[in-house]
Every structure is written in structure tokens, then in C-alpha cells.
């Protein structure tokens, strides 16, 4: 009797998981499907066509926006990941007077309404006479990405054994070498998920980007936002489909790193 009960729970669990994933992916199937739709309006599926993909590549402003987004997303992700990771290590290891303040400040970007953070940053940039452009965009994106990197890396640092660092120093590695040879590799999964989160946030932001960008540096989300405002037409769907495929490949590449290490472990155990 106990066996079947466990089986039921297991299948229920599987079924539930599949339903949730379906729920998550339903609209994405629709978006991808309508990217091949013939009619201009995303209402009814009339015919199959690749027209929108072609049309999309001609749209130079779209490509330029995509270029800007890639630069901003990558630079802001790298900067916020670097500052966030070493910051998390610092916050994990050391106590200092203003620690309470920094910890509370860490939550502000998560909660502050985007429109007001955007305006406040714009006021600061103009007060500092900084010309609005890719640089100010990157600075703004780093500002709201850092907390997420710090949270994920700190979560990873939770189970970190400090004597491993001491062992490395004991064996002749200076502090910097220890960081790169020992600390960083161990907390890498935390750093990667922090970076992925920062990348996601940067590629989805519209309101803060609107206020902190200059005339020549519109980003893709802003472009999509304006296209959507005039009624979603299939070329937006086509664009989103391409981005989706792009991000899936990046995710598989980075995460597969973990999968292969797992495989090595399994192989390793067999060898013994």
C-alpha cells in the first residue's frame, strides 16, 4: 500500500511541474507562433510567412538599438558582477561602522518605483554635467543590478570554508592569487546566477533607461515599448523570438558548464 501512495505523490508532483511550466511557456508559444503570422494585427492567425524576419533586419534603427542594448547589457553586467562579487565578499568577511546603512541601501533599488529612480539619476547626471549617452545608461543599469549580484553571491558565500583561503596563502599564493585560484572558482555558480540576473534586468528595463539615455543611444526594450504602444505587430514578435533563441543558447552554454562537471563526477566515481 505504501508503495502506490508514494507513486501517486510522485506522479502528482510531475504533473504539477509540467502544468506550471506550461503556464510559464503558453504566452511564449503564442508570441513565437504569431511571429510567422501574415496579418499585420496579432489577433488572428491568417497565414505563414517569414516576411517579418526579413523586414526586421532592414529596420536599421532596430539593429542600432539592439547593438546599444548588447553593449549596455554586457558592460553593466560585467561591472555590476565585479563590484557586486567583491562587495559581497567584503560584506561577508568584514564588519565596519556603516554596515547597517549599506545593507539597507542594498534594498532600495529593488523597491524604489522606477520612474522616480530614473528622474533622480537624471538630475544627478545633469548636475554633474555628464552628457547622457551609453555611459550614463551603463551607470544607471549597474546601479539597479548590483543588489541582485550581491544577494546571490552572499547566498553562495554562506557555506564557504575560510580555511581554504588560508591554505592557499600558506602555500605561497598572495591575496590576489588566492582570490583568483581559490575563492572565485568556488563561488562561481553564485557569480554566474548573479550575472544572469543582472543581464535579465538590463535587457528588460524601459523606464529608467528612458530618463538616463541620450539622443543616440536608444535601447531595444525602449524600442519594443514604443512599437508595442502602436499596437503589437509581428515584427516585434519576430524580434522577441530571436532574442529568446539567443538567450537560450547563452543559458545552455553557461549552465552546461555545470552539467559537464556533474558528468565528470559520475565518470570519476565509476573509475575508482
Amino acid at each position: 500500500m505504501k508503495k502506490t501512495k508514494q507513486k501517486i505523490i510522485k506522479t502528482f508532483g510531475k504533473l504539477h511541474a509540467v502544468l506550471i511550466l506550461l503556464f510559464l511557456y503558453l504566452p511564449i508559444f503564442v508570441v513565437v507562433a504569431f511571429s510567422f503570422n501574415e496579418s499585420r494585427r496579432n489577433i488572428v492567425f491568417t497565414g505563414f510567412t517569414f516576411e517579418w524576419y526579413g523586414k526586421m533586419f532592414e529596420n536599421t534603427r532596430l539593429i542600432e538599438a539592439f547593438g546599444n542594448t548588447v553593449i549596455v547589457a554586457l558592460c553593466s553586467t560585467i561591472i555590476s558582477t565585479v563590484i557586486g562579487t567583491i562587495g559581497a565578499i567584503g560584506l561577508h568577511k568584514y564588519k565596519f561602522k556603516g554596515k547597517g546603512i549599506i545593507d539597507t541601501l542594498m534594498y532600495i533599488p529593488v523597491v524604489i518605483p522606477e520612474i522616480i529612480l530614473g528622474i533622480a539619476l537624471l538630475v544627478i547626471f545633469s548636475a554633474a554635467q555628464m552628457p547622457l549617452g551609453l555611459l550614463t545608461l551603463i551607470i544607471a543599469h549597474v546601479t539597479f543590478s548590483i543588489p541582485f549580484v550581491v544577494f546571490t553571491v552572499k547566498a553562495r558565500l554562506n557555506g564557504f570554508d575560510p580555511s581554504v583561503e588560508e591554505a592557499a596563502m600558506d602555500l605561497g599564493a598572495n591575496r590576489l592569487r588566492t582570490f583568483f585560484e581559490v575563492t572565485l572558482p568556488i563561488i562561481m555558480p553564485g557569480v554566474i546566477s548573479g550575472a544572469l540576473l543582472a543581464l535579465t534586468l538590463s535587457m528588460d528595463d524601459v523606464i529608467i533607461s528612458f530618463f538616463t539615455t541620450g539622443p543616440r543611444s536608444t535601447t531595444l526594450p525602449m524600442q519594443i515599448y514604443s512599437m508595442v504602444r502602436s499596437g503589437v505587430s509581428p515584427d516585434v514578435n519576430a524580434l522577441s523570438t530571436l532574442i529568446l533563441i539567443g538567450t537560450i543558447t547563452i543559458a545552455i552554454l553557461t549552465q552546461s558548464g555545470i552539467i559537464t562537471t556533474i558528468k565528470n563526477n559520475i565518470l570519476g566515481r565509476k573509475q575508482k
Binding site: 580555511s163 592557499a168 596563502m169 600558506d170 605561497g172 599564493a173 570519476g268
Partner: protein
């Protein structure tokens, strides 16, 4: 013998918590010295100060005559084996062991050769490609030692390396460590709270308590002649009695303990001074009648058979229990009978006692109907 490590009035304070108080001792080249003491006695802190993970608030540490307390851990010709092994979880065993050499930019072929040699020394041939998570406790511990020794350090520091192993494996590792130390001739500084381990492995033991060096000496010197009540208590089992010097007859001391007179060996004690006597359980003998000079008697509470010998407990009138170990087969007074205790004065130690006032307090208790 050339001094290898010199600790010169080293102090360490964490805020007001004075962890190491004015430590002074020397470790000689090729010696196996153990720092022994209860947890929190400052032994690990001292070790970490030699390794460079902590900086002394005062005093200096010299290795081969050169002061190193200002130096970074990676600039010191010293290596450490950690209690938690601290192997690099993301590197293979080969990379773990080769780490030190890689830092010294040793050429690849030489690294390969020395690592293979070290692996055979610790009986881990063929484990190069393994990950630390795939090894047992003993294997991990041996990799940690190999990783430290491969750099041919002047001094090897071991921070309770056998703590996590089971009894049988620990015994085996104790012997292996001793053999390795003798073979390589490297100075070992070993930290443990397990006194039996210290006694079996060390050339010399430094007993520490509350940040103070109680005694430094060979294992038998410490066992036979503990300098303080703490050392006597801490090393092996010991009966410690407080007494007052009634009179001195050339090298004999007539001592009044709370429940009777005993005799001890004189070593510059004054009359009426309060002293502590430390008597090893195997050194006390029973007697039907009172032996000359001794008036210590008590009721036999129980005899416990412990493999090769018998542990007996005798309760003195003031409730103090005396432990006596006799070889199995010796004649023993029956339980609940009164017996007289005596010993050979050369086999016990008399010590100056700090708790002087305490004795005065209990002197005039009426012993009442002693039967």
C-alpha cells in the same frame, strides 16, 4: 641542537580578551613539539601566529633567527595542515598537491615528478585525477599533509589534523606522522587537545592553559613531575591533595593533609607553606596497618576491572575520592573496609599551591566520630 622557531614574549589580544599572555619558548630543528591544552588555551592562536594568519599584539617570532611576525603567510617558509584539511574542492588531488610548487613557478616536469613521489609516500598512488569530495577522511588528511610537505618547509604546523578520524585510523596516522617526521627531519609543531596523542608522538610537549605556558618538557618529565596542579590534572589521571608543611626533616617533608599526615620529597619548601601533592594512581599502595609517617586512611568504595589493570576508589573521611590502579591479580582490600594508603616519596610530586587562603578556611573542622 640549532633553535628553529623562537617565541619571544609574544602577546595576543582580541579587544580586552588576552588570549596569549607573554609566551616564551624555543622549538629546536628537527624536533616534534606538541602544544597541548584545553580548547581556548591559546595553542591554536600561537600556531596561527607562527603561520602568519594572526599578528601578535606584542613580542616577536623568529624562524632560523629571522623575525617573521611582520611577514605575510605566503612569504614564510612554513606550511600548515588544517584541522578541516582545507583541500581545494574545485581542484583535483594532483592540482591540490602541486599548488605550492605552482606558486613557486617550479617547472612542470619537476612538479609531476615530486607530486608522484609525494603520493607514493602517503600511499595514494593513482589518485591524481580524483576530486577531494570523492576521498575518505583518512585519504583527505594524507593529501593535506602531502600538499604541505611537498614544499619542503623548514617547519610544518599541524592544527589537530587527526581530530575528525575514527580511533583505529587515528592510532595508525599517529604512527605514520611520527615515521614521516623522523624520515624527513622537518620540525613539526603539532597542536592537539588529546593528551594521549601528545604523549605518544612528541619529543617535547608545551602544556598551555588560559594563554599561559604552564610547562615545557619531555612527555615523561611532564607526566612524572607536573609543575602545577593544572598540569598534573591535565596529563593522565592524578590524585591531587592539598596539604600544609608541618615540618621538614632534611630531604623529607611531613605534610598535614585535611584527613591525615603524609610524607613527600623536599624541594625548597618552607614550614607552614600550603602545597599540592600530585600522586599518580599506579603509585599508591594499600596497607592493612598504618605505615610509618603516613596516617591517610579511607573506606574502599569499589574495584573496577579495566582490562590490564584494576581501578579502585577509596573515599577519605572528607568525601575526597582517591583513584588507585593496581595490576590485575594484586591483592585488594575488600570493598567497604578501611585501608591505609602510602607511597614511595620519590614517585610523587609536591608543588607550590596558589590557592593558599582556601586551605586556611577548612583547617578547624571537627572530624567528629570517625569510625
Amino acid at each position: 641542537m640549532k633553535p628553529m622557531v623562537e617565541i619571544k614574549n609574544v602577546n595576543k589580544k582580541y579587544g580586552e580578551n588576552h588570549v596569549v599572555k607573554d609566551m616564551n619558548f624555543t622549538i629546536y630543528d628537527g624536533e616534534f613539539l606538541t602544544m597541548l591544552g584545553p580548547s581556548g588555551c591559546g595553542k591554536t592562536t600561537t600556531l596561527r601566529m607562527i603561520a602568519g594568519f594572526e599578528e601578535p599584539t606584542g613580542g616577536s617570532i623568529l624562524v632560523e633567527g629571522e623575525s617573521i611576525e611582520e611577514k605575510e603567510p605566503y612569504d614564510r617558509n612554513v606550511n600548515t595542515v588544517f584541522q578541516s584539511y582545507a583541500l581545494f574542492p574545485h581542484k583535483t588531488i594532483y592540482d591540490n598537491i602541486a599548488f605550492g610548487l605552482k606558486m613557486k613557478k617550479v617547472k612542470k616536469p619537476e612538479i609531476k615528478e615530486r607530486v608522484t613521489e609525494m603520493l607514493s609516500m602517503v600511499q595514494l598512488e593513482g589518485f591524481e585525477k580524483r576530486m577531494p569530495s570523492q576521498l575518505s577522511g583518512g585519504q583527505k588528511q594524507r593529501v593535506a599533509i602531502a600538499r604541505a610537505l611537498i614544499n619542503r618547509p623548514k617547519v610544518l604546523l599541524l592544527d589537530e589534523p587527526l581530530g575528525a578520524l575514527d580511533l583505529k585510523l587515528r592510532k595508525q596516522m599517529q604512527i605514520e606522522l611520527k615515521r614521516l617526521q623522523k624520515k624527513l627531519g622537518i620540525t613539526f609543531v603539532y597542536v592537539t587537545h588529546d593528551q594521549e596523542e601528545a604523549l605518544t608522538m612528541s619529543d617535547r610537549i608545551a602544556i598551555m592553559n588560559g594563554g599561559v605556558l604552564e610547562q615545557l618538557g619531555t612527555p615523561d618529565d611532564i607526566y612524572e613531575h607536573p609543575k602545577s596542579k593544572f598540569v598534573a590534572d591535565f596529563i593522565g589521571e592524578s590524585n591531587v591533595l592539598e596539604a600544609i608543611v608541618a615540618s621538614i626533616e632534611d630531604e623529607k617533608l611531613i605534610l598535614n593533609t585535611e584527613t591525615g599526615k603524609v610524607i613527600g620529597k623536599n624541594a625548597d619548601f618552607q614550614k607552614d607553606e600550603v602545597v599540592c601533592i600530585s600522586v599518580r594512581p599506579e603509585k599508591i599502595r594499600f596497607s592493612e596497618t598504618e605505615v610509618k609517617g603516613f596516617s591517610l586512611a579511607g573506606v574502599v568504595k569499589e574495584h573496577i576491572y579495566v582490562g590490564s589493570f584494576v581501578k579502585s576508589i577509596v573515599v577519605l573521611p572528607n568525601g575526597h575520592e582517591i583513584k588507585i590502579n593496581r595490576l590485575a591479580g594484586d591483592s585488594l582490600p575488600p570493598v567497604a573496609s578501611v585501608t591505609h594508603l602510602y607511597w614511595d616519596i620519590n614517585q610523587i610530586t609536591v608543588m607550590h599551591s596558589k590557592e593558599h587562603q582556601n586551605y586556611m578556611l577548612i583547617q578547624n573542622i571537627d572530624l567528629g566520630g570517625y569510625q
